[in-house]
Structure formats: C-alpha cells, structure tokens
Amino acid sequence: MRHLLSTSDLSLEEAVRILDTTAQMAATQEREVKKLPTLRGRTVVNLFFEDSTRTRISFETAAKRLSADVINFSAKGSSLSKGESLKDTALTLKAMGADAVIIRHQASGAPYTLAHAGWLDAPVINAGDGTHQHPTQALLDAYTIRRHLMGETMGEPDSIGVVGKDLSGLKIVIVGDVLHSRVARANVYLLSTLGAQVTLVSPPTLLPVGVETWPCQISYHLDEAIDQVQPDAIMMLRVQRERMSSAGGGFFPSPLEYTRIYGLDAKRLGRLPEHAIVLHPGPMNRGLEISAQAADSPRSVIVEQVANGVAVRMAVLYLLLTGESSAGTAAHPTGKENS
C-alpha cells in the first residue's frame, strides 16, 4: 500500500490490517500520555481545497499523536477557481519536503492525479474527493461496526478481541443520497470486501446510473429494507437540503417527503434488531435524514465514530509512513506515470 486513494484498491488482508492497527492505536489513546514518538521528524501536510474542519482536525490530531509535524495548507483557490494549480501546489509541497500529503478536494480524482502525475513522491491519503471516495471515513465506519458487532457478544464493544476478524455475515443498510456521496461509494466497496452484505436504500433519483454493477443490493424503500434485511447496522447519509427541491432539477419533491420515506425516526429504529447500531458520517441534519431520538439513542454510535476517526487515521499514517518504501523521499526517483 503506497497511497490510500480508494477503498476499492484495498484487499481483504490490507483492510483487516488497517482495522487491526486501528485497534492498537485506539488502545494507546485511552492512556494518560497519548503521544507516541513513532513519526517523529516526519512532516505531514493537510492539503484542503475544500472546507472540512472535522476531517482536517481529525487528521491533524492523528498525525500529532504520532509526533509528526503537521502543516495545514488551505488552498482555497483551486485551478477550478483560477487559483494556484494543483500541480504548482504539489511542486511546492515537494520542495517543502512533505513526507505524506492528505488531500481533500472538490474534484473527483484529484488525489489520484496528485499521486500519479509524477509531481510528488510522497504517499497520498484521500481525505474525500468530490463524489468519488472518502476511504478513512469508510474505514472508521468499518472499525466501529466490527468493534460492536463482531465480538463474542453482539452489541458489546470489543476492540482487541476482534483483531483479525472481517465483517462476514453482517448485514448493513446505507440510506440516503448515494449519487453525490463519497462516503457511500467508499463504504460499499470496503464493507463488501470485508464480507458484509450491503444494501443501499435511496430514492431512484439519488442513485447513479450504473449502480447495478456495485457489490451491493439496491432498494427504494426503507421500511421494506428494514423488515426484509433486518440489518445489524444502519448508516444514514447526509442529505443536502438544497439538492431537494430546486425547480425542474430537484432530486426530491420536498424535505418533508424525504423524511417521511427515508428518514430514520424512533418508529423505524424500534423495528431494527435489538443489537443493531446506527451510524452517520456527520454532520447530521437532525429532523431530515435522522430524528433526534434516533441520533441520541443508545444504539447510536455517531459520537464514537468521531473518536475512532482519529485512531483510523493514526493507523493509516503509521502504515503508509513506516517501512522500507517510506524511507526518505529523496532516495526515490521521481515517478513519471503521466507526462
């Protein structure tokens, strides 16, 4: 694993290894002294072309807990908005000696381009690109699910006891705007690689053409999916209000109708199996895709997801920044895959 760009690149073995490493990282974060000397002297750049305080802080915390130096690079102008081009930014980071680049970008594929265009030698971590992928989000979701549902007792969290396990046999329902969701894409591929059975529930307008080839089931009806699948975990995706009802091109008649058909409320929560957990990548639209009762219920692991995000990102940084291939970028000739 040289970069982390998409969960569809991860093998089962690699995915489990990241989750296992996450478990050890999480254990260190329960101690009084949380900082580890592991990445001392290494420089990690947070390159954010799109605002996301939550994700940036999560990565920054992870890097600092491993003693890496963190540079936050908020590149507001992308070449889309006629600011500095991605290429020039990459060349700048290379000159500054970045050992890893964490990139968030509104354009799908920007992390791939950064990793493969030959502008940079450092490992690239995708922190969310357009409507493509958000691999660390999917990994923290998978980690949270494994902790809660793969231990000896379903529903009781266990981090270390589940080391080595995948998600075989679990049924997971993902609800919401799949079309625009990098979280959904990342999760479908990762969870299915880990052996879970994934069902996407979405209005037909919010499913991409071509979704039928994804490794998952599709349903247009949440009630039907809850009753038939009896999911072990249900993940609610964030819905953007402005996508709902713009004249002539809205994806849904009204927020109210969305909530009625696709929202997770107390009633639907009650129909889930007793051990089932509720996930949401955040930030939530309470009252739209998830009701307050559901979000705050004991089944909800939404707050825990945030904490697990730091451990997952520590694991990813550890796995990408140690080992032979990570030693000194200067020793490696510049890759020239594109020219």
């Binding site: 569809s8 992308s78 070449s79 889309l80 081009s85 991605l86 290429k87 970008h105 509104q106 354009a107 799908s108 594929g109 920007a110 791939y112 381009t113 493969h116 265009a117 690109d129 357009g130 409507t131 493509h132 992928q133 990098r182 894409r185 991409p208 053409v209 071509g210 979704v211 080839t213 994804w214 091109g249 594109n338 020219s339």
Partner: protein, 455 residues
C-alpha cells in the same frame, strides 16, 4: 523516395508503382497540379515530359485522394497558444489531409464575413492545405440569434457549413430557422448534439465507470434526443443536416432510421470514438477528457458498424488542441478535447481496414469524397475529394500501410500535445501529401513552401 523540392503545383511528378486506393499498381503522372496520366508501371517511360519529372517510388504505398477533414479546430484567431492556422494545417498535411474545415469557435467567433475571410486568408498564406472556414450558426455561439449566414456564404470564404460546435443549437426554433435559411445557398447545419440541461457539469460518459469513479455523467440520451429532434426538423423543413461526432449506439440507430426515411442527414464519427472507451477515465488523466465523451465498448462497436455499413458517412477528427496547462490538472478543471489530425488515418486503418471491415476505397470515401461533398467543396477551382483520375486535381496522399509508428505527442506537428494516443504504436504512415501537385509532405516530413517567408 527522393526529397527533391517540388514547387507549388509547377513541374511534374511521376509516382511509380503505387496502388491506387488499394487496387492495382500504376504509374501516376502529375503536371501543373493536375493528374495528366495514369498507366501501367513503366508504360509512361517514353513520354518526354516524364524525363523532367521528379520520380517518387510508390512501391508498397497506397495512393488515396487527399483527405478532407470536416471538423478541425485551428484555434486562430484567439487561442494561438494552443494552435495556429500555420501549425494546425501543417499537422493536417502531415496527417495526409489536403483540406480542413475550420470550426467557428475561435475568438472572435467566426460569425461574420470578416472573420471567416481572415481565417481563409491565413489558410492560404500557410499553404499546407485548403482551409474552408465553418461559420457560426448563432452570433457568438450564444444560441440566441442567427449569425449572418448569408453574408458568410457570399463572402470570399464561400462558407457552406455552419456550426456552433462546442455548443449545441439547443433552441428548437433557432435550429429550425437555421436549417431553413441555409437552403438558400445549399448550406448545411453541422450540429453538436448535446442537450444542455441533461449535461450540466458533465465530465464523462454516464454509466458504470462514472458511477464508480464519481465523475458527473454525460448520458447518451443527451446526444440522441437532440439528433432525433434534428432529423425530424430536417425532414419537416426539407433541409440538410450534418451530425457532428456521434458517439453512441443509439445515435447510430437514429441516423439509420432517418436515412431509411429519406431524410437528408449525414453523420460523422471521430477516430477516438472508433478506438477508445470510457474505461480510460479510471486514470483520471484529462488527456481522455473529450466532448462528446468516450463511450463504452458497445458504443465503439456500434459506430464501427455504422461507419462500415454507410450509416455514418465520414470520419472527422474534431482535432481540438489545448495548451499543456489546460490538461495538466485535475479532471474537472481540464479542458475537453484531443488532437487527431496526425493519427486519424492510422486509427481508421487499425479499427476499420486491418479488421477487414473496410477497404481502402471505403477509406477514400469516408475521409475524402464524402466530407468534400458534405462541405460542398468537391467542385470548382479548389475541388477536393475527387477521385484519382486523369484530369482531376492532383490532391493525393501516399501512405505506407505496413509501417508501425510510435506516437510521440511532443514530436507532432500540432502545437499542442494532448494526444490520447501518446505512447501507443499505430499502423500506417503518411509518406507524402500532394496539394494540387505540390508536395506538402515528403518522406513523412512536412515540406515548407519556398515562396513564403519562414514563419
């Protein structure tokens, strides 16, 4: 082959032992820009004019009528950083072309007699190929008001092809008026079929690949809906429609249906849509970003079949040069378009001839005769797309079909490097191009005209 200089249409050239459009070998004698004799190999040796002729050994080569591109972006005026008339037409000659139709989306737009005459003049000065400007359908390509089509038709540039290419003439009333109006001078509307609302922010073909890699989709129906509408409009007003760069299996079906109804429609396909698919977008390399987008394997098969059976009339390059910075970036920020003049013939050979679907005579039809006829440049003093026959203008392209050549974008004649075929090896090479008897390419290399100042 000798590299002797051949003046502009003067003097005589004897091409020996060349296979004319893939048929039997002949000697072809050119004098004063005209094909004066065609005879069995060696038979012309006694002719006294032959003694002074420059002799070109055509053994192993195929002679095609000079190729005619109905869809070229020369970028001048306005984007000389991407291409100039000089560099673009030199690339055309290197690709075996003797004529190109220059698309209207320059800056200023080719929407007045003045601009089209300027482009024609630049073409004449460059002298590599005949440049036939295409006029814009609407003022400024804005899709609102008809440009002065009549003035452009009557101008020195004698415009017959009108297109807002790059943008679709989406307003059905404007399209109807344009189709009607050009009947007065036997013009044709070349439509860039793209329903704008269905393709807002579109980045690539909508389908399995776009769903997975998260790029906004450009659905086939956005192309097919416009083509369906336009063929019905053309039928209704009894005018002539040309469909640019059709790219989907559905589009081929609609054209096939329209032709069976007797609708006066012609259609083109680009070399890249004959060869490449949307799978290439997985690299996020914007070199593969083009409009209309690369489609699926099934679409590629359908356009090949449509070209072979005559549903699709021509191959046109949609040569769209872009400066490096417009491709050296993330996909969404990159420009649409790819170069094609210097690889078009090879792609057609690879996809259609080497696969046994077309003969070289068919190639002459789709890359020379038909485009010249559609553009109404097949008669008159600058007749293009004529057969290789005695008395015809000596517009001839000699190709070596056995050649294997690597494509190096940096080595091409075009001023831009955005070739999607960079790094591939293609069959066939243009060895010589004659524009009315003057060699614009010899030994595979462009030959600059001596009567103009170096530029």
């Amino acid at each position: 082959m000798t590299s002797a200089h051949i003046p502009n249409g003067e003097g005589s050239v004897l091409i020996t032992n060349v296979s004319i459009v893939g048929y039997e070998r002949k000697d072809v004698l050119i004098d004063d820009g005209v094909i004066v004799d065609i005879a069995a190999p060696g038979a012309l040796a006694q002719d006294e004019s032959v003694a002074e002729a420059t002799v070109i050994d055509g053994a192993g080569l195929i002679a095609l009528p000079g190729l005619v591109d109905l869809h070229t972006h020369l970028r001048e005026p306005g984007r000389e950083d991407a291409e100039t008339v000089e560099s673009g037409t030199r690339a055309a000659a290197a690709g075996g072309f003797t004529a190109v139709h220059a698309m209207a989306n320059t800056s200023p737009v080719q929407d007045t007699a003045g601009v089209v005459e300027q482009v024609a003049r630049l073409g004449d000065e460059a002298g590599w190929v005949d440049v036939f400007p295409i006029g814009a359908v609407s003022i400024g390509l804005a899709g609102e008001q008809l440009a002065e089509l009549g003035a452009m038709a009557d101008s020195a540039a004698r415009v017959r092809v009108f297109s807002d290419d790059g943008k679709c003439v989406a307003d059905p009333v404007l399209m109807r008026r344009a189709l009607e109006y050009v009947k007065a001078f036997d013009g044709v509307i070349a439509q860039h079929a793209q329903e704008p609302r269905l393709t807002e922010n579109a980045q690539m073909n909508e389908g399995i690949v776009s769903a997975e890699i998260g790029l906004a989709g450009w659905p086939a129906v956005a192309e097919e809906a416009i083509i369906a509408r336009d063929v019905l409009l053309a039928e209704h007003v009894g005018s002539r429609l040309h469909v640019c760069h059709l790219s989907t299996a559905g589009s081929v079906e609609i054209i096939r249906w329209a032709k069976s109804r007797g609708i006066n429609v012609t259609a083109e396909v680009t070399p890249h849509h004959l060869l490449l698919t949307d799978e290439l977008a997985r690299t996020y390399n914007p070199i593969y970003k083009v409009n209309p987008p690369l489609r699926t394997e099934a679409d590629v098969e359908a356009v090949r079949e449509g070209l072979a059976d005559g549903t699709i009339d021509i191959v046109a390059t949609d040569h769209a040069p872009h400066p490096r910075e417009d491709k050296d970036c993330e996909w969404a920020a990159a420009a649409f378009g790819m170069t094609g003049l210097e690889t078009a013939l090879s792609v057609v050979q690879q996809t259609m001839v080497d696969t046994g679907r077309m003969t070289w005579a068919d190639v002459a039809r789709v890359l020379s005769q038909n485009p010249a006829r559609i553009g109404r440049v097949n008669e008159g003093p600058r007749a293009q797309g004529r057969p290789i026959a005695v008395g015809e203008p000596a517009n001839i392209t000699l190709i070596d079909p056995q050649a294997e050549r690597p494509v190096d974008a940096a080595e091409q004649q075009t001023a831009s490097t955005n070739s999607p075929l960079h790094g591939r090896t293609l069959p066939g090479a243009v060895m010589a191009t004659f524009l009315r008897g003057r060699a614009t390419v010899l030994d595979g290399q462009p030959v600059a005209r001596t009567d103009k100042s170096a530029s």
